[in-house]
């Protein structure tokens, strides 16, 4: 049981990282990347390849992991920039659901390209840290899981700092609150939208590197993970990063605990949870209620 909770927290923190990507773009311009899962897949595969190249070049373990993360984050940020320019901005706001389909379209293309490059088979993603297991009483934690936990904490801390303290983060918040007023203050809402998508994609990419050694990698791995991260974001409340963190952890734990009893319905538990949460809290756990004015 304790084991399930610990591995649930680890998995949940990855969900939360990916889900923060939904949050950032949603509050900035009310759109999300429904292909976040495939961006994650691409991040994992690019990460795998980069890691292989870097380590075979004989670099130190930690340096190579760091290099991999930077490369993936940069590559995915570029892709996110392209996504905003290519699939979000040209849509305008004629149809409120157009962005769902346009981001799905991009993700389909990415999935296809990934399949062409990396093939159809599941590729094992050995953790750069090996498979050693540390034992704390009855709980076993792999080195990789510790790495995930540390990364999650660092990324979350950076993200919260960036969003709440840095000028750029405040500019994002301003655009989220009122794009017109923000643009009068000299903030370019479009640039912020690009930034949001770049950041969101980078998070997905890093999430891919973290999740890869746990699930292994394949071109079709993204869909489920993307949806689960979306579920985490919704459970927590799309407009609240803290809620998303809680939502992700909750989802991870519940999944792992359920899989103790019946592995068959592990996936179902996540979606049952979300239905129950939304029936009673239609804005998620920590989402803000907006009173509409007429």
């Amino acid at each position: 049981m304790l084991q399930a909770i610990v591995s649930g927290l680890i998995l949940g923190s990855i969900y939360a990282i990916i889900a923060q990507g939904y949050y950032i773009t949603f509050v900035t311009n009310r759109t999300m990347n429904f292909g976040q899962g495939d961006f994650l897949m691409l991040g994992a595969l690019v990460g795998l390849t980069t890691l292989g190249t870097v380590t075979s070049a004989g670099m130190n373990l930690f340096v190579s992991v760091l290099v991999t993360m930077v490369v993936v984050a940069a590559a995915m940020a570029m892709l996110g920039w392209g996504l905003e320019r290519g699939a979000i901005r040209p849509l305008g706001h004629v149809l409120s659901v157009g962005w769902i389909l346009s981001t799905v379209a991009v993700s389909l293309m990415i999935r296809n390209i990934a399949m062409l490059i990396w093939g159809r088979n599941v590729i094992p993603f050995p953790s750069p840290f090996g498979n050693e297991v540390y034992r704390f009483g009855s709980v076993g934690i792999t080195k990789h899981e510790i790495f995930v936990a540390i990364c999650a904490i660092v990324i979350m801390a950076c993200l919260f700092f960036f969003l709440n303290r840095s000028l750029l983060g405040k500019a994002l918040a301003a655009v989220a609150f009122n794009p017109d007023a923000a643009s009068l203050m000299g903030i370019n809402p479009r640039r912020m939208a690009v930034l949001a998508f770049a950041l969101s994609s980078a998070l997905a990419g890093v999430g891919g590197i973290l999740v890869g050694p746990i699930t292994n990698t394949a071109f079709f791995m993204g869909a489920t993970l993307g949806l689960k991260a979306f579920a985490a974001a919704i459970i927590g409340g799309l407009t609240n990063p803290l809620g998303i963190l809680i939502g992700g952890l909750l989802l991870g734990v519940i999944e792992q605990v359920f899989s103790l009893y019946s592995s068959a319905y592990k996936d179902a538990s996540a979606f049952l949870l979300i239905l129950i949460v939304l029936i009673f809290m239609p804005q998620g756990l920590l989402g803000k209620k907006v009173k509409e004015k007429f």
């Binding site: 999300m32 389909l101 379209a105 991009v106 579920a231 319905y265 996936d267 939304l278 029936i279």
Partner: protein
Amino acid sequence: MKKWLLYLLIALALYFFPWLFPSSYYVHMAQGFLYTYIVVAGLNLLVGLSGQLSLGHAGFYAIGAYVTGLCTVAGVPFLLSLLLGVLICAGAGGLVAMLSLRAKGPYLAMVTIAFGLLVEIVANRWVEVTGGPAGLYLPEAKLFGLGLGTVSYYWFIAVIALVVTVLIDNLFTSRYGRTFRAMGNSEVAAATAGVHVRNWKVLAFAISACTAGLGGALFAFQNAYFNSDTFTFDKSILFLVGVIVGGAGTRLGPLVGTIVIFLLPQWVQSLYNYHLLIFGGILLLSLIALPEGIVGGIQRIFKQRNQYSGTPSLPAPDSDGPSQMGSRDGADLNVQAAVMEFDGFRAVDAIDLQIKGSEVRGLIGPNGSGKSTTVNMLSGVYVPTKGKLSWKGVDVTSFPPHRMAAAGITRTFQNLQLFHELTVLENVMLGFHLHYRKGFAANILHTPGFLREESHFRAEAMRLLQFVGLAEKAGEQAAALSYGQQRLVEIARALATKPDLLILDEPAAGASLYEVDNIVRVIRKVKDSGIAILLVEHHMEIVMNVCDTITVLDFGKKIAEGDPAFIKNHPQVIEAYLGGEEVTKLVVG
């Protein structure tokens, strides 16, 4: 009867198809096309008309397939199983709608995604019943003991598809379609016209779940075998793609959309390694190039709006007042110490208000004084935190907007809430919502009774439009009108509900001088017919001219009440508007 000729031609084409393409491959493909089309057409009703979203229609598709399939396996006749499957889908659709009622936007999307995925998981894992990925073998579909071969099964699907098309098309052009569209445009305006928005949302979901289930059941029997691999999230997305790319809310959209999602993949299948790339690319390009879908884009080019009625001939201008404004009972409103708080902030603080008979009551006050909040409370949009509203002796404190409308209180909106996709005439016709008597069956079948009712209310709506001076704009889209004209349309729509108290929220804001005159004339006429008016307005000239009594609010409190002359010279009112002594000192120095 051009429409029926068209249907006949389509029926003939469908009938002769197996002779034109005498290969089981093509007949098979036609079957697939038709049942996919049925699903897309139903989803179009939900997404295109009622403005809701479903990313879980594969779930209904699956339920239809499994219920029908399992029933026939259990020995129930095919047709009866089909009916059962469709009915259970309707129930499931209603259930999903109930679950997602309070959820909006991405949250609603998530509820439908979760539903679709849950169904998929059950189908995959409950192997004893569903067969899971190994599949389920079905007996041949039989119609009254007659086995249906490939071609006759195709004809069976064709008949159903044609019937579904006719019914959905009827629904589009009936008041049901109009109400769905209105709800999609502005929920709150539909509610103040008396539409029970929750029930209508559930209805829209149930109908579109029905068609999805029907499509699923027809799919299941196509090969007398199916497995759980079909019912994925991607399938739900695919259906949605069909609706959006075809043209959401258009009548031909689903047909074109189905060509894109069904025939296109068949065509690029030979390029298996690239088909997602090609499909995704086409989808992206079409979304960018044709944001309103293919049919929507074409309609825009040709400006041919599918209106089922041109501007109807004007009725003889018998009198200036339309019949539905005959003598009304007048208002009897009593507000006692109503309080409205938002997160501890008191927007309205213990207001008392009485409106009786057919008076015109002005409600004025500086910005932020609580006028709009008061209007929202009176029309049922907000429920007061404390206090009591009684109307004609009945406690209406917690009535939602549609019940307020039924009781006789309705309103217009400061920030216009017209149904912008509807014509001006249709907007007003929607106002009669509470007075339609013909039910769903009459509307979907276009019975003579329904047609009579439609023309009756169309004439009534024309009279109202003539009354507000917009008869010649009847056929135009509401969004194309000027600000002041849109406000007049809102008044006409509100009058159509036959209210006893009409709340006008800044009717003259943004109106031209000519339109202001018209609005003042309309207010006077409405008053004469016995309807009370609560007028919220900043134009002091209008307020002082037309109001019998004026209530003044400041910081959520009532500071004065009396006739215009009294209010004009009331020191507290002057202070509220211009500032008190301190302010004067500050300004003057």
